[in-house]
C-alpha cells in the first residue's frame, strides 16, 4: 500500500511542478486578458463562438498594438457551472496573472466567480449573464455590457402592451436562472401595466417535444403575445410546435412570439414559415447600418466564412472595450478597472456602453428589436 501511496504523492508533486512551470513570463508592454468560457459540456456552444469573436478582435488589434501595448489571451474552461468556474478562475489568476478577465456566460458561474475576482482585485468584464444579481448589488470589480434581465423585461413588457396592444400573454421559459428570471420580470411589468398572464409554463432543458405544451397554450383562449425564453435548440421546436397548433402567425393564428434569451441569425432558415412575425430582442443587429458594424460583419465573414452571432459580437466588443480603456491609459488591473468605470459612450458593435455606478451598462441601444418578415429575413424595428 505504501508503494502506491508514495508513487501517487510523487506523481502529484511532479504534475504540480509542471503546472507552475507553464506560467507565462510577463513581457513588457503586454496586456494580459484572461477568458473564462464554457469550453466543455453542454455550454460549450457559447465558448466556441466567444473564442471566434475574441480571436478576430485580437488579430485586428495586435497588428498595430494600442498605446504601445499588445494583447495576450489565455482561455480557461469554466463549464457554465459554479465549481468548475471558480477553479478555472483561480487557476487563471494564479498562473496567468491577467490584467483583466472576460466571462462567464452563465449567470450561476459568473456569480460564483465574482467574489474571487474581487478578492484578487482583477476586473471582470461580463457580456452574457442576464441575472440582475451580477450588478445588484454587484461589486466594484465586475462590469456588464449586456442589458440585464430587468432592463430587457421592462422594455419588452412596455412595448408589448403599448406598441403591440397586447393584453394577454402566455410565458414559456426554460427552468434555469436566466429563463425564470426573465419570465418573472416580464410578468411583473406586464401585469403592472394592466395585462394578464394566462399561463407560466417552465420546462427542463431535456424536453424535446413541445406539442403537449403547444396544445396547452392553444386551450387558453385568445393569446396576444407569447414571451419565450430559451436557447436555440428548444426555441426552434417551440416555434414549430406553436405554428403547427395554429396559435402563432406562422401557423395562421394571431399570437406573436416575443422575447427570448438568445436566438441567433439563421434561426429563421431552420424554423421556416413557423417563425413568421416573431419579434425579439437581440443583442446584435446584423442589419445595423453603422460603419462599425458593417466592417465587423465583413471581417468576420472573411475570417470564418459565416455570419456573426451575438456571441461573436459580444466577445468582440469586450476585447475592443478593453483596448479602448488601454488607449485611455489603462495598463494594470487597477487602472483598467478605473478606466472601465469611467467609460462614456463607447461604441461597440452591439451598441453603446456607459456604466452606471453599479457597473451596469445602461444604454438602451443595446436592446435591438427584430421582426421576422414573410421572406424569412429580419427587419429591425426601431423601438429604441
Amino acid at each position: 500500500m505504501i508503494t502506491a501511496f508514495r508513487a501517487l504523492f510523487l506523481g502529484l508533486a511532479a504534475t504540480s511542478l509542471l503546472a507552475v512551470g507553464q506560467t507565462a513570463h510577463a513581457q513588457d508592454k503586454t496586456i494580459k486578458i484572461g477568458a473564462l468560457f464554457p469550453i466543455s459540456g453542454p455550454g460549450s456552444y457559447f465558448g466556441a463562438q466567444d473564442k471566434q469573436g475574441v480571436e478576430l478582435a485580437l488579430e485586428q488589434l495586435n497588428r498595430t498594438g494600442v498605446n504601445g501595448y499588445k494583447f495576450a489571451i489565455q482561455y480557461e474552461d469554466s463549464s457554465c457551472a459554479p465549481l468548475p468556474a471558480t477553479q478555472a478562475a483561480k487557476r487563471l489568476i494564479e498562473q496567468f496573472k491577467p490584467d483583466v478577465i472576460i466571462g462567464e456566460e452563465c449567470s450561476d458561474a459568473t456569480l460564483a466567480v465574482m467574489p474571487i475576482v474581487e478578492q484578487a482585485k482583477v476586473p471582470l468584464l461580463n457580456a452574457g449573464s442576464s441575472s440582475i444579481k451580477v450588478t445588484q448589488p454587484g461589486n466594484p470589480w465586475t462590469f456588464r455590457i449586456m442589458p440585464n434581465e430587468v432592463m430587457q423585461g421592462v422594455n419588452l413588457a412596455e412595448n408589448a402592451y403599448k406598441r403591440l396592444n397586447a393584453r394577454t400573454a402566455a410565458l414559456l421559459f426554460e427552468n434555469t436562472n436566466a429563463g425564470i428570471g426573465n419570465a418573472q420580470v416580464f410578468k411583473e411589468n406586464f401585469t403592472k401595466l394592466g395585462g394578464k398572464v394566462l399561463a407560466e409554463i417552465g420546462f427542463g432543458r431535456d424536453v424535446n417535444d413541445f406539442t403537449a405544451i403547444a396544445t396547452r397554450v392553444a386551450g387558453l383562449g385568445k393569446i396576444d403575445v407569447i414571451p419565450t425564453y430559451t436557447l436555440e435548440g428548444q426555441g426552434l421546436k417551440i416555434t414549430q410546435a406553436l405554428a403547427q397548433a395554429g396559435i402563432t402567425k406562422g401557423g395562421g393564428g394571431g399570437a406573436i412570439q416575443i422575447g427570448t434569451i438568445w436566438l441567433p441569425f439563421g434561426f429563421e432558415q431552420k424554423a421556416g414559415k413557423a417563425a413568421l412575425g416573431y419579434i425579439r430582442i437581440v443583442q446584435f443587429d446584423p442589419t445595423d447600418t453603422r460603419d462599425l458594424v458593417k466592417k465587423f460583419i465583413a471581417a468576420f465573414k472573411a475570417k470564418y466564412n459565416a455570419d456573426p452571432t451575438h456571441l461573436n459580437a459580444h466577445a468582440y466588443d469586450q476585447i475592443m472595450l478593453i483596448a479602448d480603456v488601454v488607449k485611455r491609459g489603462g495598463k494594470d488591473p487597477q487602472s483598467i478597472r478605473d478606466g472601465l468605470a469611467a467609460t462614456k459612450n463607447f461604441s461597440g458593435v452591439t451598441g453603446s456602453v456607459d456604466f452606471d455606478k453599479t457597473n451596469q451598462n445602461t444604454k438602451m441601444d443595446t436592446v435591438h428589436y427584430m421582426e421576422t418578415k414573410p421572406d424569412m429575413s429580419w427587419t429591425s424595428l426601431k423601438w429604441n
Partner: protein, 294 residues
C-alpha cells in the same frame, strides 16, 4: 377545457409513447436474453441520428436511405460492444461489472461526439417534419405519423419474429430459462450476439427517426435514456408487450402532466410510478417470465 384539447393531448401522448418505445425496445430485448443493461443504448440512438444527418447532408441521399444507414451503424456498434465488453465479462460471472463498463462507454461516446460534432444543436429537417395532418380540430405532424407507423410495423415484425420463427422462439427460450435452453442445444453465444445486433440496430434506426423531433446534440440520448429505463422496468424487463404498454402510459403521463400540472413535474410522476411498480409488482405490468428472485 374542451374535448378537443383532451383528445389532442391523448394523441400527443401516443406519439411521445411511440418515441420512447422505439428506444426502449432494444433495451428490453437485450435484457431479456442477456440479463444485462446497456447504459450506452441511448448514445447508439444519438449516434444513429448523427449518422443519418451526415449521410443525408454530405452524400445528399434520401431520408429513407439514411434510416438504413443508421440501422447499419447501430448494428455494427452493437456487435462491437457485445464482443468487447459483454462476452469477456460474462465469463467472469459478475452481473454488475458490465453495467458499469457501459456507463464508461456512454461517457466516452458522448464526449467523443461532442468533440467531433460540437455542442450546437443540428436542425434535422426532412420533408415530413413540418407538414401537418389535420382532422376534427386535431393536428399531428407527418413526421410523428411516420414514427407511429414505423414503430407499429417494427413491433409487429418483432412480434412475429419472436412467435413464429425458430430463431425467435430460441430467443424466448433463452430469456425464459437460460440453462434449459442450453441443454436443448441452442448456441447461446451466437444468439446473444444476434440479439445485441438487432437491438442496437433498432436503436440506430430509432435515432434516425427521432432526429427531426429531438434537439440534436451529443446529449440528446441522455434526455431519453433514463425514462427508457423506467419504461423497461414498468413494463417488465425483457417483455415486449409490457414495454409497449409502459411506453404509451409514460407518453400519456407526460402530455397530461404538461396539460394539467407542470412540465417540470413529469420526471417526478414517472419515477414515482417506477418506484411504485418496484414496490408492488417488480416483475412489471405483464410478465411471462417465471417468478424471478428479484
Amino acid at each position: 377545457m374542451t374535448v378537443t384539447i383532451v383528445l389532442q393531448q391523448a394523441i400527443n401522448g401516443v406519439v411521445l409513447g411511440s418515441l420512447y418505445v422505439l428506444v426502449a425496445l432494444g433495451l428490453t430485448l437485450i435484457y431479456g436474453v442477456l440479463v444485462q443493461i446497456n447504459f450506452a443504448h441511448a448514445d447508439f440512438v444519438t449516434l444513429g441520428a448523427f449518422a443519418a444527418y451526415f449521410f443525408m447532408h454530405l452524400v445528399g441521399a434520401s431520408y429513407i436511405l439514411s434510416i438504413g444507414v443508421a440501422f447499419s451503424v447501430g448494428a455494427i456498434l452493437g456487435w462491437m460492444i457485445n464482443a468487447s465488453i459483454f462476452t469477456p465479462l460474462r465469463r467472469k460471472g459478475n452481473e454488475l461489472l458490465p453495467l458499469i463498463a457501459t456507463i464508461g462507454v456512454s461517457v466516452m461516446m458522448q464526449n467523443l461526439m461532442l468533440a467531433w460534432f460540437g455542442p450546437i444543436p443540428y436542425a434535422f429537417e426532412t420533408q415530413y417534419s413540418n407538414q401537418v395532418v389535420r382532422f376534427a380540430g386535431i393536428f399531428v405532424s407527418w413526421q410523428n405519423v411516420i414514427i407511429i407507423i414505423v414503430s407499429s410495423m417494427t413491433i409487429a415484425l418483432l412480434y412475429a419474429f419472436m412467435k413464429f420463427t425458430f430463431l425467435g422462439k430460441a430467443l424466448r427460450a433463452v430469456s425464459q430459462d437460460h440453462e434449459t435452453a442450453g441443454l436443448m442445444g441452442i448456441n447461446q453465444n451466437q444468439l446473444i450476439m444476434l440479439t445485441f445486433v438487432i437491438a442496437s440496430a433498432l436503436a440506430g434506426m430509432a435515432g434516425a427517426m427521432l432526429a427531426p423531433v429531438l434537439v440534436l446534440t451529443p446529449f440528446a440520448g441522455t434526455s431519453v435514456i433514463v425514462k427508457a429505463f423506467a419504461i423497461v422496468i414498468i413494463g417488465g424487463f425483457g417483455n415486449v408487450e409490457g414495454t409497449i404498454l409502459a411506453g404509451l402510459i409514460v407518453g400519456l403521463i407526460e402530455s397530461y402532466t404538461t396539460q394539467f400540472l407542470d412540465p417540470g413535474l413529469i420526471d417526478i410522476v414517472v419515477f414515482a410510478l417506477l418506484l411504485l411498480m418496484l414496490a408492488i409488482r417488480p416483475t412489471g405490468l405483464i410478465s411471462e417470465r417465471r417468478e424471478e428472485n428479484v
